[in-house]
Symmetry: C2
């Protein structure tokens, strides 16, 4: 039995890719089960509820379990205590950072969403995509490309989304995308810690440990009014987990910019973005993607 | 234009995969050209001559060139001075060891030959395999799996080879495989340096630089009579290139064993294989594959 899992603090792409890919594996005669390793966010809940699909169960690690990693490949973003021999496959759209002892099945493509790759694999293997899977794939593509506005978006993602929308007789993609993002963006009931860690990824480069969280919003007024509270919680988290730098991308998906809030070693942020720092923050116009626009400059600054 | 290249000291799988994959890319509307970065071995010459296919030209690096790496992914096995931004795709069946700043198209599978993966990609993209490409793919699978006896061989490789053999109306696979291996195994005209470096791969692990060459033979008497000469040449090469360890797999493909000759830090060989050393050599029954049976224990010993 293979357990198909997305990353820690999973987003819709991670959970949808796990469900869709395990379905494909089953159709190809491989015993596999979609799981999650962490709680899902409200956007993912909204998407799964919309089509009445059950959210995968949480899986815990044990040495005999074998895993397929989707939407991530770096081990510190995966289930705790993962060993190389437990990893059977990787399907991902992030930068690869692995050093294996044995050859493995790995497929990464520079597309906007892991679900775009999974959809291609359905086609390549001539497996029909059922409606509920098509809906999950489409939602994940809309989510991960921020409704096709993120610079990670490719023509291939758009073509795949159109094909899925047609299969589903889907109406207004943009309206659905905004509804989905709003489900995630309701901050009123959330603690500062929730906001920081809702979509939070950890990295290591040359001995520096850093993390980048992201909140995608349609209006920044509420979060801006809580900035001091959130920065102070970020400082606490930094001490607790011994990070050198914590960033939070506060992204306005309507006006297409990110305010990058941060605590920790500010030289890294200065070197990475070359921008004026004001109130522990740099303003980054047209920046929407952690993977493509925030992590690479930080990695470069650290290398 | 993409240049599709195999590794240094290319084998038949590297050159055949480059030719076949560039053909597939062209069919998919991508400008691509198969090249080599080093001279080919007599086996590859034999295979290409057999079907009258031209051997790809040698390519030299320049910063504006973009590459597809086939049959390797580690940069020190690739064209000199390769930079990450020059690498557009990787198709390989070796262990992955990469740390990228950007997402890329990467596909590795634990199959016996890169050409098995390339064949799957033809099918997935519904592109017909022309006869000369089918012949190259089949030859590469036979070569890299040592006529299906290497432990890297999978059921999938065998199935693909049968399918290709059927397309080609091919007779005795084993007889052809041995003929091919014999073409490579004619040592009489070769210098000790030629024998060592004909199929030679370099590695680095935790600051140790080592290399593993391989000669596949149907009879070891000739090479055994030249052992002192070859070991002394290995010592010279070790000093010249500053290796910590050089191994030469002297593989008997008929009786299915390898004598691993080596010069350099013998503790690595002792730790990796736990065998008695005699005359700078350890005897390894049923060992045929560098990738699966020699490199992993050495990497483990060094980690």
């Amino acid at each position: 039995m293979l357990y198909v899992i997305g990353h820690k603090k999973p987003d819709t792409d991670s959970i949808a890719a796990a469900v869709a890919y395990s379905y494909l594996l089953n159709k190809l005669g491989v015993e596999a089960k979609a799981c999650r390793i962490d709680d899902v966010n409200p956007e993912t809940e909204f998407v799964f509820n919309k089509f009445g699909v059950g959210i995968p169960e949480k899986v815990f690690n044990s040495p005999e379990k074998r895993f397929v990693l989707v939407d991530h490949n770096e081990f510190y973003q995966s289930i705790d205590d993962l060993k190389e021999e437990q990893v059977v496959q990787i399907i991902d759209h992030h930068k690869l950072n692995v050093s294996f002892l044995e050859p493995k099945f790995v497929r990464t493509e520079p597309l906007g969403s892991t679900c775009s790759i999974v959809f291609k694999m359905f086609k390549e293997n001539n497996v029909e995509v059922p409606k509920e899977i098509a809906f999950l794939l489409l939602s994940a593509i809309l989510s991960d490309t921020v409704i096709f506005t993120s610079p990670t978006t490719t023509e291939e993602d758009k073509r795949i989304a159109s094909e899925l929308a047609e299969m589903l007789d889907f109406g207004d993609l943009k309206a659905f995308g905004i509804e989905m993002k709003k489900a995630k963006a309701d901050l009123s009931s959330k603690t500062a810690r929730d906001i920081i860690t809702m979509d939070f990824k950890e990295y290591e480069k040359n001995g520096k440990k850093y993390a980048v969280g992201q909140v995608e919003l349609v209006d920044l007024s509420e979060i801006n009014s809580r900035k001091e509270e959130i920065l102070s919680e970020m400082r606490k988290l930094k001490e607790e987990k011994d990070f050198d730098l914590i960033c939070l991308m506060v992204t306005d998906i309507i006006n297409q910019f990110t305010d990058l809030w941060f605590v920790g070693e500010d030289w890294i942020v200065v070197k990475a973005f070359g921008k004026e720092i004001k109130d522990n923050s740099v303003h980054l116009p047209n920046v929407l993607s952690r993977k493509k626009q925030v992590v690479p400059p930080i990695e470069k600054a650290l290398s």
